[in-house]
């Protein structure tokens, strides 16, 4: 760990986490709660009740200006011009070679866009946006804003009592709410594969919001450890591990995030390469792997074909608390990305049998309205 404790930033909820028994670790330049009672218990709680995550380290940005949607489309491959008010879109900030600088959520909020980026990359992202966006698009970093996520099958029932109306949101939709007197921007979204919400409130109001949520018997605070195992079961990539500037949206199997008009028109950073990859496929592909036995394989382990030739690398791996077996994701040569392909993983001199499997590992349970 290169990070030292002296330059760590503290979350608005720092004392709140500590008083609830959190073990704090350095992450993305912040002192963050990695676990409270234990990763597996917190993971299972989120899948069966409702887990409260403090993700205030993430960057909350707004973009204003004339033709802000078209401006953002120069760096993001997603369809933003047709995105309706109050709708979210998963997208990526790309470099000029189509490499992924960050992945993000963009929401149209009336005359502007609200964008949430990863904590570890937010300062670099802001520099990129400021340098590369067309003149006339103005970025604001809401540094004083906190962000909570309430995730799990009981999230809607709990949040409805505190912010009436939230249960009418459908997956990937957001709106302004009154959370027990506090103005909050709430969206139905998250990073666990469960139904759930992300709640953006002023940093000086977040403690009251966290207290109100955890006063409910269905809600417990959940640390970064379970956040990682939950998102891995959901097949969701983690920036800096499964995604980086050496990967493109097509390599990362995120082509769903490049909508029809963008595919035909291009007009985004790295479009030449990415449109060619959409047409012809990429040389490597992100895949899910089921690993034999009980021992997890970790980031950095080599993936070998049946001849023992290196064909890729593991980018994330853990023991799945839901499935009670190891799961992993990694990149392999495209011809080996087919589901059912049997591969080997080499870790610390030991070989593990692994087979390519469709993701998510654990089915998503998003709240999608019929016809929405």
């Amino acid at each position: 760990m290169a990070e030292t404790t002296e330059d760590l930033q503290t979350l608005s909820l720092d004392a709140w986490h500590r008083s609830r028994g959190a073990r704090m670790v350095p992450f993305a330049g912040y002192s963050m709660p990695v676990q409270y009672e234990g990763v597996i218990a917190e993971h299972v709680w989120t899948r069966t009740n409702a887990g409260l995550f403090d993700v205030s380290h993430m960057g909350q940005l707004t973009f204003h200006g004339d033709r802000v949607d078209a401006g953002l489309e120069t760096l993001l491959p997603g369809e933003l011009q047709l995105l309706k008010d109050g709708r979210l879109r998963y997208s990526m900030l790309l470099d000029d070679n189509g490499g992924i600088i960050d992945d993000l959520m963009a929401t149209r909020r009336a005359d502007h866009f609200y964008v949430v980026v990863n904590g570890a990359t937010k300062h670099g992202d802001i520099e990129q946006f400021e340098r590369r966006l067309p003149k006339g698009v103005v970025l604001d970093h809401m540094k004083e804003q906190a962000l909570l996520a309430l995730q799990g099958p009981r999230a809607a029932e709990v949040l409805e009592t505190l912010a009436p109306g939230v249960s009418d949101l459908s997956f990937m939709q957001g709106a302004a709410f009154n959370f027990a007197g506090t103005p909050a921007w709430i969206s139905r979204s998250g990073y666990t594969g469960e139904d759930g919400f992300e709640i953006s409130v002023a940093g000086n109001a977040v403690e009251a919001v966290a207290d109100a949520l955890t006063a409910h018997e269905a809600v417990k605070p959940i640390g970064l450890g379970a956040r990682d195992s939950l998102r891995l079961e959901a097949g969701l990539p983690l920036y800096g591990h499964d995604l980086d500037t050496n990967t493109t949206p097509v390599m990362a199997d995120l082509q769903f995030a490049i909508q029809k008009r963008r595919r035909s028109e291009g007009g985004f950073a790295g479009d030449m390469r990415i449109l060619a990859e959409l047409e012809n496929g990429a040389a490597q592909k992100r895949v899910g792997l089921n690993v034999e036995g009980r021992q997890p394989v970790r980031e950095g382990a080599l993936i070998l074909d049946s001849e023992g030739t290196e064909v890729g690398r593991i980018t994330s791996g853990t023991f799945s608390p839901t499935l009670q077996r190891p799961i992993a994701m990694g990149y392999v040569a495209a011809p080996l990305a087919e589901a059912g392909t049997v591969l080997k993983v080499e870790q610390r001199g030991k070989l593990f049998e692994a087979s390519v499997t469709p993701m998510p590992f654990v089915p998503h349970r998003y709240h999608r309205k019929q016809g929405a």
Binding site: G38, V39, I40, A41, G225, D228, R294, P296, T318, P321
Partner: protein, 123 residues
Amino acid sequence: MSLHFTGEHEWIRVEGDVGTVGISNHAQEALGDIVFVEVPEGGRSLNKGDDAAVVESVKAASDVYSPVAGEVIEGNPALADDPALVNRDPEGEGWFFKIRLADTSELDGLMDEAKYREWVKTL
């Protein structure tokens, strides 16, 4: 019987020339939920400080080193199916392996229980 600890948080409980080795309560707390343990097989000979076992939590893998030189008598067969036993009873039923010590004087270089518990409080 005597109980000794290493600076890497292994313990060894010795009777005659047979030692039982495991990881301390502090170590299991630091690791969190343990999901996999690989223990050495009987007959393997180990030097002091050799990688003897692997313990994996949800988050990460760690090596367990042999506190002494000797020949492994057996690994704990219970850990393959129930690795969480290390979390529940790290200094008892969650032992990793038994070893026949080559040289009991190696124990002199380890911490006794009182010294270890005091030291752990400072970490």
